[in-house]
Symmetry: C2
Subunit: 314 residues, 2 copies
Amino acid sequence: MILAIDIGGTQFGLILATANGEVVHHLQRSTDRSGGAQWMIEQIISESQMLINKSPKPVVACGIGFGGPVNFDTQHIINSTHVKGWDNCPLPQIIQKELHLPAIVDNDANVGALGEFTFGAGKGSTNLIYYTISTGIGGGIIINGNIYRGSNGNAGEFGHSPIRLNGPLCDCGNRGCLEALCSGTAIGKRTQEAIKKHPRKGRVIRHLSGKNPITAKTLFDAAKQKDPFAQSLIDDICTDLGMSVATAMNTFAPNVIVIGGGVSKAGRTLFEPLRKKTNPFLMPIHRPHLNIRQAQLKGRSVLLGAVALAQQTL
Amino acid sequence: MILAIDIGGTQFGLILATANGEVVHHLQRSTDRSGGAQWMIEQIISESQMLINKSPKPVVACGIGFGGPVNFDTQHIINSTHVKGWDNCPLPQIIQKELHLPAIVDNDANVGALGEFTFGAGKGSTNLIYYTISTGIGGGIIINGNIYRGSNGNAGEFGHSPIRLNGPLCDCGNRGCLEALCSGTAIGKRTQEAIKKHPRKGRVIRHLSGKNPITAKTLFDAAKQKDPFAQSLIDDICTDLGMSVATAMNTFAPNVIVIGGGVSKAGRTLFEPLRKKTNPFLMPIHRPHLNIRQAQLKGRSVLLGAVALAQQTL
């Protein structure tokens, strides 16, 4: 039995699973950001202890996906932009001490990529590129079945590829990054701006949102109802995303490009225009090989990836 | 002793070298395009036989870098856009039959990357990205010391990353590819267009070219003389190239990005603005690690890479 932990900015999740990815227990908790890292670690330890006590078989290892940069070589969290107190935290060492389990941590996008590769949309592939599109855009790379971290440990930052010269400001401080154009947050903003500019054409979207703020989900819901204004805005967004996906295809030539995260839940309303808009940017020799798939593990990509990571490395 | 062959569109080269990359003989010949593949193969065989006869020690293997797509798994040339008759040619098999040497072929950009990795600007690195910028833009990837070919064999096509939406037409049929903006050919065209638009500002460049056509070299020569018009045009070109280099850095996180090919001979006139223009596109976490270097093997990247390829695989 393997214990897996997914630590995000707003939630954390725990599962107990077999090495084959069969989930025996799963629990999900909200994060009290104000409590900081100390509070979260205490919660994680006590919930984990509870799961271990419930386990039908001995728990032998713990894998962790963390929502922020991780120094994989030293097994320290680098920091979290969402929750205070994580700077330079040796989380696996703490887990090991408290739960008497060997533990391993990596960045959640890397771990999510490994999850989809091992148990999800990338099963059977050799090389895989993973985008996770929600509040921000994270990325992970699998090469020859292993997470590829690059020479400085921070490979796979597809969210910060420059797409548009002098484009909108990104949280990283640069302009025109993919994340600043196509993250869930950015899609919401682009929709709001488009409606301000064309209030009439935005009728369907405004109607759907009612008194709630207009989000990425509102846009995709309107497109599902065949609203041409929403569809054309999604085409523009998929053009930007397609430039990045085409570059990933032309350079990494993976078997499969998996897209997960909240925005991917839009399903074919996202994936059909994305394939159409990516195609003209692909080198002709790569066109027949393009294989963009929706993540399959439904919010468990990171947790099941943490199972695979623990299994691979411990 | 290893025999290495570099087959380009306008020239072919042969060397005899030790496994350590010490070159014992080197010869370079012009290509008669009209003769097609058959003529070239005959030339290569007879020149190779001559080198083998001259060799101080037995020649045990042959490595080949080919200027066009190669199916590495089946060891067939796919085609050449420059010379007719190469379609589906099993070149290593022919070499093996005629010269009684085990032979191996790969695309010249891959082989050039391996050459710089083994003997040149990337010596001592683990992961390397290679751009070769001359008539077109080729690319090669070294991951964990090996050429990375991706799942379909055509990884590393940095020249066809989409950089500018609705940009200039590329030879591949797409618009706004890096190659259509920053190859030697494209730089020449951009310079000619800029001068048409601003004939007065182009004085220095026009003076340097005299009655010859204005090329990329003319532009870099003018910038070396501190011509502000040339420098500002190079800044624009480096902004486009920098977008691609930054994406390579943010995603592959290599130890080193090596740039070779004719355009790289401009030296610091290219590399200084390129570093300056790439920097603002890098994720802050990657900035301290950027390491762009000029290829060191002076026109022998492919030949010495073919030595390394033969050594690695035969």
